[in-house]
């Protein structure tokens, strides 16, 4: 496939999404992104979805289902918020410091999760269930089951998501990091080899445990960033998420992950994550426009239906084409 054709195909999905949603909004006399505030929200949400989807796909692409992403996001940003508040008391520089601490905490939590998996050698889905419960329990113990508010309600945190600039910088940094790490390093080559053929890759001498630990570490670090962005956006962190209350965050990443997989046929998969996140963010902005008529129930149903319809299309592509030709 030629390069221009690849670009057109890769951009088709977000462009079509924009056209359809903008038309819907225009029919109601509005626009998907009507002012600077909604543009800021659009970019911030794009960052959150893109990074969550990347974190989910790192392990899921290798057959490792990880339920602990939400708990890692929650616990890492609670640790980040508490330490930052202890140092700066909500003063200048709180947001960047919290972002850094949450990132490091996320990496450590990811490594602990990976180490548990590699040591116990149990199926990753089971380990992630245990790890989720442990992290949720720690979160609850630290916060007493309450919302963390005073630690994240300050001008610095408001500024993090109050403008599109920081979110855009985070998107660029994460995208560059992911492309370089997974496509240009020895770790990335090993990751792809293990993903495609675990047995053969291990037989050729690739250190699977080391590679897996790095994957979990990166995934945790990414969730640390997501946790901080969510804390800044919601101006609170829910510390009382017991009994798998934290896993909902990963379900929001399923649809963009499949969309990214489709776009990834025409371009780099990581660019696919960004474009898929743009599609989801456009949808989220449209929900905001129609917030009076489309309530949370409708939004959940629309998201679920879109997920199923898209997967029906993806998994029955050839059949649909044959039917259309006939």
């Amino acid at each position: 496939m030629s390069t221009p054709k690849r670009i057109v195909n890769a951009l088709a999905m977000p462009v079509v999404t924009l056209v359809v949603l903008q038309t819907l909004c225009l029919l109601n006399g509005q626009s998907v992104i009507s002012n600077m505030k909604s543009f800021d929200n659009f970019i911030v949400y794009t960052a959150i979805v893109m990074i969550t989807t990347m974190a989910l796909s790192i392990n899921l692409n290798s057959g490792r289902f990880d339920f602990s992403l939400g708990s890692m996001a929650g616990l890492s940003c609670i640790i980040g918020a508490k330490i930052t508040y202890g140092i700066l008391s909500g003063g200048n520089g709180s947001a960047p410091l919290m972002l850094c601490i949450s990132l490091v905490a996320g990496v450590i939590l990811g490594l602990i999760s990976g180490l548990t998996y590699c040591t116990l050698r149990l199926p990753p889905i089971i380990v992630s269930l245990g790890v989720t419960l442990v992290y949720e329990g720690i979160m609850y113990t630290i916060t007493g089951g309450k919302y963390v508010m005073s630690e994240v309600q300050n001008p610095s945190m408001s500024g993090l998501t109050g403008t599109w600039v920081y979110a855009a910088l985070i998107i660029a940094a994460v995208l560059a990091f992911m492309i370089i790490t997974f496509d240009k390093t020895a770790f990335g080559y090993d990751y792809n080899a293990l993903k495609s053929g675990q047995k053969v890759a291990v037989a050729t001498g690739i250190n699977e445990v080391k590679n897996t630990l790095i994957c979990y570490g990166i995934s945790g670090g990414l969730m640390g960033i997501v946790g901080t962005l969510n804390a800044a956006r919601n101006t609170t962190i829910n510390g009382g998420q017991l009994n798998f209350g934290s896993i909902a965050i990963m379900f929001t990443a399923f649809l963009p992950m499949f969309i990214a997989g489709y776009i990834g046929r025409f371009t780099n998969e990581k660019i696919g994550f960004l474009l898929a996140a743009v599609c989801m963010s456009l949808l989220n902005s449209t929900f905001a426009v129609f917030s009076n008529s489309v309530n949370a129930t409708m939004q959940s149903i629309i998201n679920a239906v879109l997920l199923v319809v898209f997967l029906i299309y993806l998994n029955n592509n050839d059949l649909i084409k044959r039917l259309l030709k006939a």
């Binding site: 050698r121 149990l122 419960l133 329990g137 009994n243 798998f244 997920l307 997967l311 029955n316």
Partner: protein
């Protein structure tokens, strides 16, 4: 004694561990309740009622897990079935229609999952994620519309009072378990489900239609959902947005706790859910009694998760692989 015989004895001992864990937990529970001077009959009733719903829904779900897949929407389906049951009773004042509605909704929701998976070739776990979102959202909408955000919806307690006794519930549990045991152990369908779960390609090559058994597995799970929803209403004749919310994930734990591998196949055990369900609830209740403080919920969950991982680690010693499991 030959090495093979030693290995066989070791494997048999390990396979008995879940039952041993249940007995030990029960003994500890009796001691803990006695030491604290609580009423044993009351606590036994609480444990039985909590574990009953989990064990029933999880026993139905074993058929899905045997196929090597999982259903994350079981909790939401139970909530939705109970919600529709309450709505039906409040409209018709008929207990029979309420029971019919509960089972019809439970089986339909489960069937919809299997049809989407079988006919449109969508990974079953993705369809169940979508279904979970839709059913939770619909239930929340109905409950908050008719009962308010906190109050929930309910039926008069005297309607289900005749069924709220341990004898009747135990009879239902035994009857359902007996049916599941028969289908699982003594029918062609049960054997073929294990074959499909163990080696889907080989099963297909021998002429077994996986889609047929996927539908059957989801129907069995649907019956479990219906029964679980009915028993939930017998215990508490009101439904809130959090009713059965933890069941979906606790089923994972119950099944693995009971000694069944999450990968399904020939090593699947129909009794795993029953043993695991009661063990997990006993463990949680023991910890809640010992650490008697609402602030300690987090610590309780951490200990419970560590215990879960330890038990699964020991019980899975029979099938450890050189490569990291996926």
């Amino acid at each position: 004694m030959t090495d093979k015989r030693k290995t066989n004895i070791k494997q048999k001992l390990i396979s008995l561990l879940p039952i041993a864990a249940l007995l030990v937990l029960f003994a500890v529970f009796l001691v803990v309740v006695s030491i604290n001077g609580y009423r044993l009959d009351m606590y036994l009733k609480i444990v039985f009622n909590e574990a009953l719903v989990l064990a029933v829904v999880a026993t139905g779900a074993i058929f899905i897990y045997t196929l090597g897949t999982f259903d994350i929407s079981l909790g939401a389906s139970t909530l939705f079935a109970a919600t529709m049951g309450v709505m039906t009773y409040n409209k018709t004042q008929s207990l029979i229609l309420m029971i019919v509605a509960i089972f019809a909704v439970g089986i339909t929701a489960s069937l919809l999952n299997s049809v989407l998976a079988s006919v449109f070739h969508i990974p079953p776990f993705v369809t169940t994620v979508a279904m979970m979102s839709v059913l939770s959202a619909l239930s929340a909408q109905i409950i908050t519309s008719y009962g308010g955000a906190l109050g929930g919806i309910s039926i008069p307690s005297e309607v289900v009072k005749p069924f709220d006794n341990i004898g009747f519930k135990a009879m239902l549990l035994i009857a359902f378990f007996a049916i599941c045991f028969f289908v699982f152990q003594f029918t062609k369908a049960g054997r073929r489900m294990k074959f499909v779960g163990g080696n889907p390609i080989c099963a297909e090559l021998t002429g077994i239609k996986a889609s047929k058994y996927t539908i059957l597995a989801f129907v069995m799970a649907g019956i479990g959902i219906g029964l679980g929803a009915f028993l939930t209403l017998c215990y508490t004749p009101s439904v809130t947005t959090t009713t059965a919310s933890s069941i979906g994930m606790n089923i994972f734990i119950a099944i693995v706790f009971g000694g069944m591998p999450i990968s399904g196949g020939a090593r699947s055990k129909i009794y795993a859910a029953l043993i695991g369900g009661f063990s997990y609830i006993l463990l949680n209740d023991i910890l809640e009694i010992v650490i008697d403080s609402s602030a300690a919920y987090g610590i309780t969950q951490v200990i419970s998760a560590v215990f879960f991982l330890a038990v699964v680690y020991v019980t899975s010693m029979n099938y450890r692989t050189a490569l990291l499991p996926r």
